[in-house]
């Protein structure tokens, strides 16, 4: 029986183990840089989920070339005038990060969705790069 709670726990443990797959090692510039990136495989394609909370969509730029995707922009934190600040935890600043994937991707067909402070990049594999089964005569 499929247990949603077990699946969730497994999933969170998988995220916790900070997967450093060999194929991405050294390919992303500076692990630990902003913004944090998680990469998933969904059937033949890749999905990158990036946390960019509080970034205005118009301050976000995504470029793709060959198998490299660049995410850059800035995050502003502003306060109204004449306030007394009790607690200040949010950070602001600029960011610029590239993600290089070790598969051939169709850069023209990458789809980006920004919602609730999370950017999702749907990265399709090129048809020629997809594995195909070889029949044995």
């Amino acid at each position: 029986m499929y247990n949603a709670f077990d699946a969730l726990l497994d999933f969170q443990q998988a995220l916790e183990s900070r997967l450093q797959s060999d194929w991405l090692r050294g390919a992303t510039a500076a692990t630990g840089a902003f913004p944090p990136i998680n990469v998933f495989q969904q059937s033949d394609n890749l999905v990158a989920i990036i946390e960019l909370v509080g970034v205005n969509k118009s301050d976000l730029e995504i470029q793709a070339k060959n198998n490299t995707i660049r995410i850059s922009g800035k995050k502003d934190v502003t306060y109204p005038e004449k306030v007394s600040l009790h607690r200040r935890e949010r950070l602001s600043g600029s960011f610029d990060r590239t993600l290089t994937v070790p598969i051939q991707i169709d850069a023209d067909r990458i789809k980006a969705e920004y919602r609730d402070g999370v950017l999702a990049l749907f990265i399709p594999r090129t048809e020629s790069d997809k594995p195909r089964s070889i029949s044995i005569n």
Binding site: L24, S43, L85, R90, S94, D116
Partner: protein
């Protein structure tokens, strides 16, 4: 002058008083609090939380903010490289009785919740003229 380079803020896990029955992780959302003459404002960062899944309550002078993450979006996805974990958000603040609890307003944009807690009339500073 170039703006400061943004750093990753490590998520802080909530220390629970009771154990929860669901094994989901709960994080303490990054929060700014500021005060004007009129109101107290809280800016709470909860990436990935839909506005419909935010719950704000005031009970016994304690403001509790909860954000529920929808994990179903991750169905069928195999993590191959990860840098951060995901989970729900929860944080509580004790309020002074100077807040008009009936007029609290909330707005959500880009994963950022803005709460405005207007001050009760008697709590506002008033100018006293000296005759």
């Amino acid at each position: 002058m170039s703006p400061q380079e943004l750093q990753v803020q490590q998520k802080r896990e909530l220390e629970k008083k009771q154990e929860s029955t669901v094994p989901a992780r709960v994080f303490v959302p990054t929060t700014d609090i500021f005060e004007t003459e009129e109101a107290l404002s809280l800016i709470v960062e909860m990436p990935g939380v839909d506005r419909a899944k935010v719950d704000v309550s005031v009970e016994d002078g304690v403001l509790t903010i909860q954000g529920h993450l929808d994990f179903s979006k991750y169905e069928g996805m195999q993590p191959v490289y990860t840098e951060y974990n995901i989970g729900h958000y929860r944080r509580s603040f004790s309020l002074s009785n100077t807040v008009d609890q009936g007029r609290i307003s909330a707005e959500m944009k880009d994963g950022v919740l803005t709460l405005v807690l207007p001050k009760a009339e008697e709590a506002k500073p008033r100018r006293i003229s000296v005759s």
